[in-house]
Amino acid sequence: MIPTVGGAKALLSLRSVSHEFVADGLRVPALEDVDLDVPDGQFLAVVGPSGCGKSTLLSLIAGLRRPSRGTVFCGGEPVTAPMPRKIGMVFQEANLLPWLSAIDNVAFPLKLRGVPARQRREAAARMLALTGLAGFEDRLPHQLSGGMKQRVAIARGLVQDPAVLLMDEPFASLDEQTRMVLGDELLRIWSETRKTVVFVTHSLSEAVYLADRVVVLSARPGRIVDDIEVNLPRPRTFSLTSSEHFGTLRERIWRHIRSGERR
C-alpha cells in the first residue's frame, strides 16, 4: 500500500516513527511519533531547535539506524538498511575519501556496486559537470575549497540517480556567501533532476528560501509541531528574502523554535 498525500503518491512515508538512544543505561527519547508523507519531487526542509533529532530523523530515513518504533517507507518498501540506489545522502562535512580524486570520490558508490570502470568515470564526470566542477576531476580533496568539496559530495549523492536526496545541514560549515551560492546551485540541480529532497538545516532563511514545505520539530523529544507550505514563486531569487511573505513564514517558524528553546 502506497500512502497518498492530497492525491499525489508519497515517495517517502514515516509511520509513527519514534527513536530513543541509550546513554549510560538511560533511555533518551530523540523522536516521538513522527508521521510524515513526502510526495515525489518535493523539496522538504526540516528545522527545529538544536538537539531536536533532525539529524536522527535523516539517519532513520537513510537506513543508517532502525527506529525504535514505527516504520519508514520508501516507494512503499520498508527501509531497514541503507538503499544507496534509491536514497542518496550528503552530510554536513563533505566526508570525501582523502586519497581519491574528485572523480573517483563521486564514482565510489558505483565502485561498491561493481560497475565497470569506464561507466563509473562517465557517470561521475557527468555529475561533476552538473555540480559545476568540470575540469576539477583529478583534484584531490585537500586541493579543493570547502564549497567545492561539498559540490563533490552532492555529485556523489546523485551519481546513482536516486529518487531521494537526503541532506544533513550540508552548508552549515561553509561561509555565508558560499552557502548562498550553493543554495542557488542546489535549486538549479533540483530543477534539472527533480529529486525528492529532505534538507535538514538550522537556518530558517535557508529553509524558507529553498523548500516547498517546511516541517518544524519541537525540542527533544522531537515531534512535528508545524507543517508549512512555502508558496513563494520559483525560481527563487535573493530579492524574495526581503519580501513580506518571506518574513511572515520565517517568523512563524521562529515562534516555534523560540518556545522550544525556552523549555
Binding site: 543508517l64 538503499m83 544507496p84 552530510f91 582523502p98 561498491l112 585537500h142
Partner: protein, 250 residues
Amino acid sequence: MSAPGRLRLGQVGLGLVLLGAWEALPRLGLVPRLFVPPLSEALGTLVAERREFASSLPTTLGEIAAAYVLACGGGVLIGQAVAASRTARRVVLPLIRSAYAVPLVVLYPVMMVWFGLGPESKVAFAAVYAFVPTVLTVAAGVGALNPALAETARALGATRLQQVVYIALPASLPSLVAALRLGGALVIVGVIVAEMLGAAAGLGFLITRYRTLLNSAGVYAGIILVLAMTGTHEALLRRLERRVAAFRAT
C-alpha cells in the same frame, strides 16, 4: 638561488666540514687515533677486510629480516586488533605503554639463556625491542581514524568488508608506514646491540672483536656499515611516507 636550494647547500657543506674534520683532526694529532682513526683509514679497512665484513652480513641481515617480520608484522596486527575494540584500547594500551619504560636491554641476558648464543636470541631481542613502539604507533593511527568516513561509506552502500578494504585500510596506511619506519630502525639497532653483547657471528660481533683487538679503523668501518643500513632503511621509508601522505590530508 632559491631558499630551499640554499638550505640544501648549507646542509651539504656542513656535512662535508664534519667529514673533513673526521679526516683532519686525527691526522693533525688533535684526537688520538685509537679513539677516532681518520675517515680514510676506516674506509680503507672496510675495503681491505671486505671479505670478512661481507661474510658477517648474511647473519645480521637474516636476523634483521626475521625480527622485522615479527616486530612489525606482529605490531601491526596486534595494534590494529587492540585499536579496533574500545575495551582492549583501555585495558591493553596502558600496559603496553608502561612496557615502554622498561629498559628492555636488561632482558637480553635472559634471552641468551632461553635462545642460546645463535641468531635466535638476537631475533627475539630485536623483535621485542621494536614491538612496543610499533604497536603504539599503529594503535594511535587507527584511533585517529575519522568515524564519519565509515558512516558515509555505509550510507553509500558499503558492506562491512568493503568498509575495511576501501576505508579502514587505506586510512591507516600513513600510520602503518610511520610504524615501519620507527620499528624497522629499532630492529636494526636491536640486532646490532645484541650481537655486540654476545654472539659468534654478525656485524655487531665483528665490531666488538675489532674493539677487543684495539683495531679502531675496523670498529669504525663496521659503524659505517651500520649507518649505511639505517640510512638506506630511513630513505626508503621516507619515500614511502611521502607517497601515502595524501591519505592523511582531508
